[in-house]
């Protein structure tokens, strides 16, 4: 991904900001600007809470260019608590421990680096939901 493209999508990648449709109230991630459900304009920003469950998962052994150094890694479709599905990597979890329905939460992680001098890409990944401790 180019630097302009990375910069343009920083809100989505680092803060999980999508959109909500003012007409049918669908929550949209990634953003569409035009609601795919009702066809109306949907440019109202909406920050997702970052929690969801694993809808499906797989392990990538033969990685595409730029990701070879990270393979094998686990990828998943996540059903966000607010409704939409998104595609992301899982992190901080053994592949054998992943199951469909597993509760997960969003964290910011390094995705890859374009060489020694190049851009370091950060984005959302999902890890098993940590238990909250009462203080």
């Amino acid at each position: 991904m180019s630097i302009p493209s990375y910069w343009r999508s920083r809100q989505q990648r680092l803060a999980l900001v999508g959109e909500v449709c003012p007409t049918c109230e669908s929550k949209l991630f990634p953003p569409h600007d035009i609601c795919p459900h009702c066809g109306g304009p949907a440019k109202t920003r909406f920050a997702f809470c970052g929690r969801g469950t694993v809808y499906s998962f797989s392990q990538v052994n033969a990685a595409p260019g730029g990701y070879e150094a990270y393979a094998p890694y686990v990828v998943a479709l996540i059903a966000l608590d607010e409704g939409p599905l998104l595609t992301a990597q899982l992190t901080d979890v053994s592949p054998d421990a992943v199951y469909i329905g597993m509760p997960v939460e969003m964290v910011t992680r390094q995705m890859r680096q374009d060489g020694e001098q190049g851009l370091v890409h950060y984005s959302y990944k999902f890890r098993p939901l940590l238990e909250r401790v009462q203080s």
Binding site: M1, S5, S9, P30, H32, P36, Y55, S56, F57, S58, Q59, V60, N61, A62, A63, P64, G65, G66, Y67, E68, Y70, Y73, V75, A76, L77, P84, L85, L86, T87, A88, Q89, I100, M111, R112, H121, S123
Partner: protein, 385 residues
């Protein structure tokens, strides 16, 4: 719109053509189709291709292929719809003839996978997915299909080995196809033991990438009748889209774009699914075969695998699929595969499919998928006696 017929077909074997450049591979298929059609020069050329810009640094394929196939001067373009590029080229040629823009159009699908290494091909194929929100997260195209297969197995209770008949059938049919990349049968044991690529997808769930080119000549039915020769009518040519990203779909396990594409084709041909004698479906992965049978109305949701386990998909079954090996075993030269399917359907309808001939077939369907269900192009072909 007027009636259109396919009057010529040509193909090269699918495989590793180290000694042949993309332009020459395409020219071989084009020349073969023109000889078969007994036509010297079509009026328009549509070239289906996906990967040449990335693997061969080559755009402008319309002019390039026209020139090297001895057709310099004609109107020509490249058509792109990811893995369905070849079928899209056929549909453009169909529209050109049906709409009256010309009387004879040629569609050629060509792909030169070996111009890049396997890693380059993996990266290039991922461009069929959503670059910003799928590929950017490190998903290969195989991984996206693996997510669908994992969920399908979970939701409907199938085991991985239940998908074996799709791969076994494809290889069985490829064994007697001289143009197939993997012309040998495989056993259930081989399927079960195959190496995982992206769990649950293994090497024997995935189609084989290879070089290849195929071409078809389309003409107005009137002109086709005057030329004599075996007549295959395009009974329907239809297409529909869905979101590129799987996560943007309401129901990922039901391919809505495919369903719409097939329904449009059935309506245009005035037939029901049960009327079809065979189905050349897009078996890029075994899971896609199951989802195709369901979205096209041959099996209820979650039951496409059952059709395979029952033996319905073999050449002796009630709905033969991938009769010359399919993408799985004939090989999948991505942007050419959609044209190979049409060539193979024409061979069946003409009675020229050799040892793979389906006796007395009259109506066949070929369907090509761009991406993981994003662009689906369906053709129904009919033998005219």
């Amino acid at each position: 719109m007027r009636d259109v017929a396919i009057i010529g077909i040509g193909q090269t074997p699918v495989g590793e053509h180290w000694e042949v450049a993309l332009r020459d591979l395409a020219a071989q298929a084009v020349q073969a189709a023109l000889v078969d059609a007994r036509i010297e020069r079509p009026q328009m050329l549509f070239v289906g291709n996906m990967l040449a810009p990335m693997l061969s640094n080559q755009q402008n394929l319309g002019a390039l292929v026209a020139d090297h196939a001895g057709l310099r001067g004609i109107e020509a373009y490249k058509v792109e719809a990811a893995c369905a590029s070849g079928a899209a080229a056929v549909r453009m040629a169909y529209l050109a003839v049906a709409g009256g823009a010309c009387d004879v159009a040629l569609a050629c699908g060509v792909e030169k996978m070996t111009d890049g290494g396997p890693d380059q091909a993996t990266t290039a194929l991922a461009s069929a997915a959503d670059a910003l929100y799928e590929a950017e997260h490190g998903l290969s195209f195989v991984a996206i299909n693996a997510l669908l297969m994992q969920r399908y197995m979970h939701e409907f209770g199938w085991r991985h080995e239940d998908f074996a008949p799709f791969a076994i059938n494809a290889h069985q049919n490829a064994a007697t196809n001289p143009n197939a990349m993997f012309p040998r049968p495989i056993t259930r044991e081989q399927y079960v033991r195959a190496r995982p690529v992206a769990e649950p997808i293994t090497l024997l769930d995935a189609s084989g990438m290879g070089d290849g080119a195929a071409a078809v000549v389309l003409a107005s039915a009137e002109l086709a009748a005057s030329l004599g020769g075996p007549l295959v009518r395009v009974a329907a040519s239809a297409a529909a889209t869905d979101s590129v990203a799987v996560h943007d779909r309401q129901e990922p396990l039901f391919l809505q774009g495919m369903h719409t594409s097939a329904q449009r084709a059935y309506a245009e041909a005035g037939i029901a699914p049960a009327d079809l004698d065979f189905f050349e479906l897009h078996d890029a992965f075994t899971i896609m075969s199951a989802l195709s049978l369901e979205a096209c109305g041959f099996a209820p949701r979650g039951r496409g695998v059952a059709l395979a386990l029952d033996g319905a998909i073999t050449r002796q079954g009630r709905l033969p699929i991938c009769t010359l090996g399919g993408l799985k075993a004939r090989g999948h030269p991505v942007g050419a595969s959609g044209v190979y399917q049409i060539v193979e359907a024409v061979l069946q309808l003409r009675g020229q499919a050799g040892p793979n001939q389906l006796p007395g077939c009259r109506l066949g369907m070929a369907q090509s998928i761009g991406g993981s269900g994003a662009n689906v192009i369906t053709h129904i072909l009919e033998r005219v006696s």
